[in-house]
């Protein structure tokens, strides 16, 4: 029984990270209908920021991990995406691909291809006893931080006037603009939220692996994207739900598959998602897609 609960906590931890990845992607998609493939590089910038700030106290490490992706996200919106706003989805997609490749190449140029290791936040390492279970401290922190962040983003979106503007923009951007909602501000805020979520994800990832590499963003992007689609592309809470579902499924397969095929558990995850999407292509939460004729 205790191992089941420990595995459940492990699944919720993975799901928390996937939810952070997915929400960062979904918040941009909801407003711009852009799948930002450079979101992985925002997370990667967070891991390198933590590596560079490794000698600083943990609160400062977190601040640096937040600031770097946030500034990078605002910069990519201003330099790369604002000039092509309103372009075809294909143009937006190729631009985000190009940006992803550019940032990854820049990281390789600056830091090299080898992993940069740093022992950050030693207090987060090790495990603690909790109700008779042995749980990794970092898992508890990951779950708590994610829930706090989701709660914070949720409160911001549901209780503030600007949050209502963002939700309205995600539902029907043209109509929101016709009511005077400023497009530049809403999109910049979406990128800021996306960057902040990437920063926290980068910090937690670095705390887990202890290394930063130029390809740090690939796996989070892939799983974040999958979780977003499973949850329902365009729905913020669907993305979170999708993240937790994919995390729990991944852990379930990891602990139940026979040893001989366990290394391929990701293939089973994607296979299951493939079949899920065949039967429910719109995902778990069907969003209200903005109509174009306004």
């Amino acid at each position: 029984m205790s191992s089941v609960l420990e595995n459940l906590i492990s699944g919720i931890t993975s799901g928390s990270l996937y939810a952070l990845y997915a929400l960062g992607i979904a918040v941009i998609f909801g407003i711009m209908r852009l799948v930002n493939f450079a979101h992985g590089e925002l997370i990667m910038s967070g891991t390198y920021a933590v590596f560079l700030a490794a000698g600083l106290p943990v609160p400062l490490q977190i601040a640096v991990a937040l600031a770097a992706p946030l500034v990078l996200a605002l910069g990519m919106e201003r330099v790369a995406f604002r000039p092509i706003r309103g372009a075809s989805p294909g143009t937006l997609l190729v631009t985000s691909f190009a940006l992803s490749f550019l940032l990854q190449s820049l990281a390789t140029l600056i830091f090299g291809t080898l992993p940069k290791a740093a022992n950050i936040a030693p207090a987060l390492q090790g495990s603690v006893g909790l109700l008779g279970l042995t749980v990794a401290r970092l898992d508890l922190v990951t779950i708590a931080v994610t829930l706090a962040l989701l709660g914070g983003v949720g409160a911001f979106l549901s209780r503030t006037r600007f949050g209502a503007q963002m939700r309205a923009s995600a539902e029907d951007f043209t109509m929101a603009r016709l009511l005077g909602v400023k497009a530049d501000r809403v999109i910049a805020a979406a990128f800021a939220i996306s960057g902040m979520l990437a920063g926290i994800a980068g910090f937690l990832l670095m705390a887990q692996t202890g290394t930063a590499t130029p390809t740090d963003g690939l796996y989070p992007l892939l799983f974040g994207l999958v979780a977003t689609v499973v949850g329902g592309l365009g729905s913020l809470w669907g993305a979170v739900l999708g993240g937790y579902l994919v995390g729990l499924l991944s852990t379930l397969l990891q602990v139940t598959l026979p040893d001989s095929i366990r290394p391929y558990h990701d293939a089973f995850v994607f296979g299951a998602i493939f079949f899920f999407l065949v039967f429910r292509p719109s995902g778990l939460v069907v969003p209200r897609i903005a109509r174009t004729r306004v």
Binding site: A164, R167, A168, L178, V181
Partner: protein, 239 residues
């Protein structure tokens, strides 16, 4: 000064022209009807006025100021408010949040929003009873009332309504036209796009008829002339 002046407006969707050299105007305090069959270019015209569609030629002036290159949110903040065809209410938000969104366009910076919401609730009492409910759960008629109320919360200088009676029960259509008559009496400037010719001609100070992207009729109080043009526009020249 004219509230709205459109001069020689041309809009195309790719190679397909939607508006061809359209000119019309709305004086301050007027209620002007814009009639025409499906595909005549009525919605394209209001979208061009709001800045959603970019014209290939011609000008749009609001209160004498040219709107070329001005974003749709800026035009909204100048006091132009649209009730779009299909309502476009935000179904995932509450009725109250939908109304509060109107604050963004108010020229007083949002200071008078709460009072404006109280006034629209007096006009549409059903919204007052469902303020904290999801807007997506409202009936079609209630959603149309919300769309009009939301536009009024912006404290518009010029109100554009695109087919507000489309798909509504007769009782709700009556309510919509009653509210329009009240707004006209209060001096609000309105451009009303409709297919409902008889009611629009009765409500409007002047009317235009659009056919295949061209203005084919302009007049006041000449119901027969407008209806004749509408008939031709709908059924063809050979009628």
């Amino acid at each position: 000064m004219r509230a709205l002046e459109v001069e020689g407006l041309c809009v195309s969707y790719g190679p397909v022209p939607a508006l061809r050299d359209v000119s019309l105007h709305v004086e301050q305090g007027e209620l002007v009807g814009l009639l025409g069959p499906n595909g005549a270019g009525k919605s394209t015209l209001v979208n061009a006025v709001c800045g959603v569609v970019k014209p290939s030629a011609g000008t749009v002036a609001i209160a004498g100021a040219a709107m070329a290159g001005v974003s749709c949110e800026r035009i909204a903040r100048l006091g132009v408010s649209l009730v779009p065809e299909g309502r476009h209410i935000f179904g995932s938000l509450t009725v109250r949040d939908n109304l509060r969104l109107g604050a963004a366009a108010r020229r007083d910076g949002g200071a008078g929003t709460d009072a404006a919401i109280e006034r629209v609730i007096e006009r549409f009492p059903v919204l007052g009873r469902k303020l904290d409910g999801g807007a997506g759960r409202l009936s079609g008629g209630e959603q149309q009332q919300l769309a009009i109320a939301r536009a009024l919360v912006t404290d518009p200088f010029l109100l554009l309504l695109d087919e507000p009676s489309l798909g509504l029960a007769p009782l709700i259509v009556d309510l919509v036209f009653e509210v329009l008559a009240e707004l006209r009496a209060e001096g609000l400037t309105v451009l009303l796009v409709e297919q409902h010719a008889t009611r629009t001609l009765a409500a409007a100070d002047r009317s235009y008829v659009l056919r295949s992207g061209n203005v084919v009729y302009e007049g006041a109080g000449d119901e027969h002339g407008a209806k004749e043009q509408l008939m031709i526009a709908s059924l063809g020249e050979d009628l």
